[in-house]
Amino acid sequence: MAETIAFTLNDKPVSVTTDGQRPLLWVLRTDFSLTGTKFGCGQAQCGACTVLVDNKAVRSCVYPVRNAGGREVRTIEGLSQNGDLHPLQKAFVEHDALQCGFCTPGMILTAYSLLQQNPQPTREEIIQGMDHNLCRCGAHTRIIDAIQSAATALKGGTSR
């Protein structure tokens, strides 16, 4: 049944009239043409579709758009501010922490959520926090390095 769902998307108020059961992933990719959020598995097993809802990582492929109502949704397109890359994005570039790039938006947003909860994670905590995001190209060690270096860069400042 169609319903109107209002939420904040990348700092802008938006609303969409659609079936509230639809996965947020497809609403973002089709209704809003925000294609940085990727489809990888459809069952919350790979993390390619990760977005932030109220600054927490969620798997948008199984997250009903209705649940986003009244909340703040952030996709990879909304992470950099005024053209400046977020320290996580910068660190991924500097560490070459990606190859094909398909898992990258989900990796960065999962790491963002991790650093929100634990601003100075140990290497082991990063591994635990990222373990349910899959990367087939094998950029893992560089991703860990990038997150560590972003955590250092963010130290003392706000996370945005």
Partner: protein, 718 residues
């Protein structure tokens, strides 16, 4: 493959008038200085010709210097993460004398790029690289010629540097590349063998650069096939059989058709439901009811090996020498083993995707593919369109690994666009991806080998079934040897595989290296020799010896026969003209059979390294992906039904499964550049299996090395 030929291509001028396609090309790409280049008729391109069609003999490489001074490289190669967007750019930038930032890569668009077989086989740097460099050198020569005219200075006084040419005796007499190209359309064909830069002149090559596409990829701006949006486009979901071999008996689409906004297409076996939202198309497809005849296939993942052996056709004898009977006589110790390897999925994070837009008798298709030009021909055939009316555009590809070479999803999208008159996207679900993947083939390797008590290998009788020949010929110094192969790795009409198989990163070589390097390790243990000493004693190939010694030295290897209890394994292999040696350290939980790989050191001889950072990343990726086929990945199936449908049961390597990875690239800048995308994956299975033996004394003969198999092998020797 003779590498020297790469440096001695015959760059003769082919004196023919520009043909129509080139004229059209000039129209499309606009003005500037354009250099056409032909690789020429050289045996180095035989590998590319295996598909039945050679490189065009008119031109196959070209580049353009625009009035803005930017150099555009047009290539049919594609970027799927392997990093040629950076390394090919480096090769060109160095030869033309510009910075890497001044080079634009235009990739995988069949309307502007020269024909290319595809991006696979670690061939981009090896085979496309040399003509690209030559074209760059020719461009530089033309620029110097033009500058001499314009500045009225003899050429030998001119210096080209970073996009500017100046008179070395009067430095303010200068002209930029952009100014030389302005207002001109000059098409040149390379006339003579250009002189390439020598390693001492490199400014961009053999230097580390980070990826050029990462800014787009970390911001979500990078477009993949599924990210292209066209007005009025529809998303299609297709009816699929429950098992390979199951035939559609009847279908009822009435319920789906009643849903608002749904279009149903039913043409022969193609049943598709389309909607402006992909999730709603999927929802509508679930309302379609269908009956299928059961699949006649009976084989499963347990019986597959017997099935393959029973259906084995004639064997091809490959490398051989000496006399096996004589070897048998000389041998004091005989080792006879059978090695097994199951089907593996490519499991790229991006599933097969295509968007097709049919307009009249023309079609444009955006595809996640490693083979844009073959896909173009396939689509033309499927739609009965003239191939000239088919344009394939390849955006960024989200991982390939050999799996994105069949064009099924593009044909589906093209047919549906033709049927509906609208742009149609087909993006496979993960379940479809596992179902239609062209798996790495299940395979059996039987080896009988012999050695003397002093540890000299004298007999090698190697028989591979269905992995393919790549990596099968051994490179040890064994006087009496023979290698035979049954069935290619790529399936085909008479294939006994129950479903499609195909190229999987270094096709065949992973299975062949697992068998060969395990067998060599067993022989070393029988001779009570250290596995590196045993290999060195039985190697004559200088590159294999050099790379193995480099690995041992960097690892600080202390010799000891296996099992030493340390959990250290060794393996060496060759692929794409590159040699690799690895040493791994593992920890085995003897109670559970769980293996944790702690450290992998990889030494790699890949000749000239264009981008050391990029090459290192490829090694890391190979080792990581290799740990998947080594420890967890295996396709489970029953009859034609694929039981692994997502990542819950098909387990990819994760952050927590990774070892410390160290890469040692041999510094060989005076040698030709060899392949880099695949070699380091080939020996991961062997090096881990050998390390498990060293830790426990248990020998694993089947991939993957699951906890259950490890536990069983340990129990068997207790």
């Amino acid at each position: 493959m003779n590498d020297n030929e790469l440096l001695n291509l015959d760059f003769t001028d082919i004196k023919i008038d520009p043909n129509l396609s080139r004229r059209e090309l000039l129209k499309t790409i606009g003005g500037g200085i354009i250099i056409f280049f032909c690789v020429g008729d050289s045996s180095v391109l035989e590998a590319q010709r295996r598909g039945g069609r050679g490189y065009p003999d008119d031109f196959n490489t070209y580049l353009k210097i625009g009035p803005d001074g930017r150099i555009a490289c047009y290539t049919g190669k594609i970027e799927m993460g392997q990093g040629i967007i950076t390394s090919l750019g480096q090769m060109l930038a160095d030869e033309v004398d510009v910075s890497l930032e001044s080079v634009d890569m235009v990739m995988g668009d069949t309307s502007v790029c020269p024909w290319d077989m595809g991006t696979f086989g670690s061939m981009s740097t090896r085979f496309f690289g040399p003509p690209l460099r030559a074209a760059g050198a020719e461009a530089r020569r033309v620029l110097l010629e033009l500058a001499a005219e314009q500045l009225k200075v003899p050429q030998d006084r001119l210096v080209a540097e970073n996009g500017v040419i100046y008179d070395k005796e009067q430095k303010d007499k200068r002209v930029t590349y952009g100014d030389l190209a302005k207002g001109k359309t000059i098409a040149r064909r390379a006339k003579e063998k250009p002189s390439l830069k020598s390693p001492s002149e490199f400014k961009v090559m053999n230097k580390s650069f980070t990826r050029r596409d990462s800014a787009e990829k970390v911001t979500g701006k990078a477009k993949y096939a599924g990210d292209i949006r066209l007005p009025g486009m529809l998303y299609a979901k297709l009816l699929r059989p429950p098992a390979h071999g199951a035939k559609l008996k009847n279908v009822d689409t009435a319920a789906a058709e009643k849903i608002e906004g749904v279009t149903v297409v039913h043409e022969d076996d193609l049943v598709a439901v389309l909607h402006k939202n992909p999730d709603q198309a999927a929802e509508a497809l679930s309302k379609v009811t269908a009956e299928f005849d059961p699949s006649p296939l009976k084989v499963d993942d347990q019986t597959i090996f017997d099935h393959l052996l029973k259906n084995a056709g004639n064997s091809n004898v490959g490398a051989h020498g000496g006399n096996l009977e004589e070897g048998q006589k000389q041998a004091e110790i005989i080792v006879e083993q059978t090695y097994l390897d199951g089907y593996k999925a490519h499991a790229a994070m991006e599933t097969h995707t295509a968007l097709a837009q049919v307009e009249g008798n023309k079609v444009t298709v955006w595809i996640s593919t490693q083979t844009p030009f073959p896909a173009k021909d396939q689509i033309a055939k499927a739609l009965s369109f003239d191939a000239d009316n088919v344009r394939v555009i390849t955006p960024f590809v989200g991982g390939g690994f050999g799996g994105k070479s069949a064009g099924q999803q593009a044909i589906e999208a093209a047919k549906l666009s033709k049927a509906t008159g609208k742009p149609v996207q087909v993006c496979w679900s993960r379940e479809e991806e596992f179902f239609y993947d062209t798996f790495r083939p299940a395979a059996v390797v039987k080896i009988k080998s012999g050695l003397t008590k002093e540890g000299k290998a004298v007999l090698w009788d190697y028989n591979v079934y269905y992995a393919g020949e790549r990596g099968a010929p051994q490179f040890y110094d064994i006087p009496h040897h023979r290698t035979t192969s049954v069935g290619g790795g790529f399936g085909g009409g008479a294939s006994p595989h129950p479903f499609a198989t195909g190229a999987w990163r270094a096709p065949g070589n992973n299975t062949n290296c697992f068998a060969r390097e395990s067998q060599i390790d067993i022989m070393a243990a029988k001779a009570k020799m250290d596995p590196i000493e045993f290999r060195l004693k039985n190697l004559k190939d200088e590159r294999a010896i050099r790379v193995l010694k480099a690995a041992a030295e960097k690892f600080d290897w202390k010799p000891a026969p296996s099992p030493s209890g340390r959990g250290l394994g060794v393996a060496v292999g060759t692929d794409s003209d590159t040699f690799v040696a690895q040493i791994a350290e593992v920890q085995v939980d003897k109670r559970t059979g769980r293996v944790q790989v702690k450290r992998v050191l990889c030494a790699q001889d890949m000749g000239l390294v264009i981008n050391p950072e990029g090459a290192t990343i490829q090694v890391e990726g190979c080792i990581t992906m290799g740990l998947g086929y080594t420890l967890t990945e295996d396709i489970h199936f029953k009859g034609g039904m694929i039981l692994d449908r997502n990542f819950d049961t098909y387990e990819l390597p994760r952050f927590s499964s990774l070892p410390k990875i160290e890469t040692v690239l041999l510094d060989l800048k005076n040698e030709p550049a060899h392949g880099g995308g695949e070699p380091a994956i080939i020996i991961v299975g062997a090096v881990v299996a050998n390390a498990i033996h060293d830790a426990t004394g248990a020998r694993l003969l089947q991939l993957p090395l699951t906890p259950e198999r490890v536990r069983k092998a340990i129990t068997a020797i207790a």
